[in-house]
Amino acid sequence: MATIVMDDLHKVYAGGVKAVTGISLDIADGEMIVLVGPSGCGKSTLLRMVAGLETISDGTLKIGDRMVNNLEPAERDIAMVFQNYALYPHMTVFDNLAYGLRNRKFPKDEINRRVHEAAEMLEIAAYLDRKPRNLSGGQRQRVAMGRALVREPAAFLFDEPLSNLDAKLRVQMRVEIRQLQKRLKTTSLYVTHDQLEALTMADRLVVLNGGKIEQVGTPMDVFNKPASVFVAGFIGSPAMNMLDVAYLRDTGAAQGLSGLPQGTDLIGVRPDDLLLNAPEAPHLSLTGDVVLLEPAGSESHIYVSLAGSSQPVTMRVQGLPNVLEGARINLSVPLSALHPFASATGLRVG
């Protein structure tokens, strides 16, 4: 159990490529932090810096009270779950779990106890004698988890651990990992490119872009008040619609816009906030042509090309709406659901 404190971390590769720039983050004891961002955003590099698999170019990293910048991975009291699991193919499940403990010279019965305990917890006790190649994807994932668990480390590091699983298993494992982490209360750093995983699993999530932090906050904070156009586009699916303020003024919907903060020239609207029936609350009204209606079971996506502009927007409605492809429809957006941004800085205004 420990805190992790990153202070102005930098990673510059030999060729001068900056992978991580000025990351500062305090992680509380027992907290689950999810690092999320597109590929190449530096999230994995940052995790590997914490693990000790990448050197830290500048800044300090503390795990617990120790400065660990120059410690070997094994000395940092962390355990890691890799994307491809990295199970030792020639060892049995038992040996895979025990290897780290043996290297640390744990007594035999203690190793036995811990391995069996972890195996029970992860429901892999029946496979302890098998080799990884005789396990299914989900079982391998559990073994990888088990290898981290037995160590009882100060922190868990997860590097996209679910991305090799099929969709159904991914949801199941997501729930299990989160439950386990809550039960053990072990500080965790979890890397993913999947925004849904980030939203569902995190105590706090950290959105990274271009090696820098875009936003840190609880999932609801980040979802409800995205700090930048980038975050707005990355978190939430389907992605947030972006509308030019200039366009909205031209369509005559201007009266609702007067309340927006100074400098706003871009408006973000979540697909859920576009409504087919005008609400009573103050709102904007728009018209457009239905390009495509996409039923998705309990909900439907409607792709609309706004009149007088080529800007397409996506809206999400419950059930199957009574609209026809090619028909012109009216849309409304409650003023309270507008996310104001400045296009010059890419940041939220006000």
Partner: protein, 282 residues
């Protein structure tokens, strides 16, 4: 593809049977010749059916040798060949796997330089530097010794490259996981990398053993003491040793014994042999 072509397949079988016959014929002749008494080879044509003297001939070459033909009993030569082949094989494998490990899993000054030095061995086969290499071995006092027979031959770029190639395909994460699990470089090498390389080691072992067993020029150069003769070079002494016609029945018995071990290795480990051969040369 559906190709109903009876004649084509018959033709193919015919070609292959002739091919197999061509490949087997010389060895068949040798086996037959090794079963005949000496008188058979005085005149006429070599026999194509077995003779009555097999046991006697083999007993003679293995235990007695023929001083007239200038050869000691070949029991000793077989043993020498085996020791030399094993020493070359084990030596090559050990130093190659260690070098490949260093080159793949470490970054250090002059890494490329060392890589090129190893690469050089490909360009300098013994055959092109016979005299000076002999000189070096003589200066080091390694003539007529197993060390002299094996050590100069164990540097191997091909084996190093094969291991390097294989290590590059070992997932990065395995090494990282081992580091997180508290394994240092040598522990990782011993616990993870070696067990994973076992098929490659075995495949190379087959190739290297055959290479070592079949050495000819090198033992010819550095052994003058019959006690260190190897079987393959010993045959040459038997063929060209005397003025008269060679004692064919004994020569062929020796040939059969000399060829048998590597042939058995190939037949019993064909899969590994094919893997070793086709992958070392990539």
């Amino acid at each position: 593809m559906v190709e109903n072509d009876r004649w084509g397949s018959l033709f193919a079988h015919l070609v292959l049977i002739l091919g197999v016959a061509l490949v087997i014929f010389p060895v068949y002749v040798a086996v037959i010749a090794s079963t005949h008494p000496p008188g058979t080879f005085v005149r006429g044509v070599m026999p194509l059916l077995p003779g009555p003297n097999a046991l006697e001939n083999y007993r003679t070459v293995i235990f007695e040798g023929r001083s007239r033909a200038g050869t000691p009993p070949i029991g000793g030569m077989l043993w020498n060949s085996f020791v030399m082949a094993m020493a070359i094989t084990v030596g090559k494998l050990s130093i190659s796997i260690l070098s490949a490990f260093a080159i793949v899993y470490f970054r250090f000054p002059f890494r490329m330089f060392f890589f090129w030095v190893i690469f050089l061995t490909l360009m300098l086969p013994v055959e092109v530097r016979i005299v000076p290499t002999f000189q070096v071995v003589a200066d080091l006092g390694m003539l007529n010794s197993f060390a002299g027979l094996s050590i100069p031959l164990i540097a191997s770029a091909t084996a190093t490259f094969l291991f390097r190639q294989f290590f590059m395909t070992v997932p990065e994460e395995l090494m990282e996981a081992a580091r997180v699990d508290g394994a240092g470089p040598m522990k990782f090498f011993k616990d993870i990398l070696m067990p994973l390389s076992i098929t490659n080691i075995a495949a190379l072992f087959v190739i290297m053993f055959i290479y070592g067993w079949n050495q000819y020029l090198w033992p010819l150069l550095i052994t003058t003491d019959p006690e260190y003769y190897t079987i393959v070079m010993g045959i040459q002494r038997m063929v060209t040793g005397g003025d008269s016609e060679p004692l064919w029945h004994l020569v062929m018995a020796t040939v059969v014994l000399a060829a048998l071990p590597p042939i058995l290795v190939i037949l019993f480990m064909q899969r590994l042999f094919v893997k070793g051969l086709t992958e070392t040369e990539k």
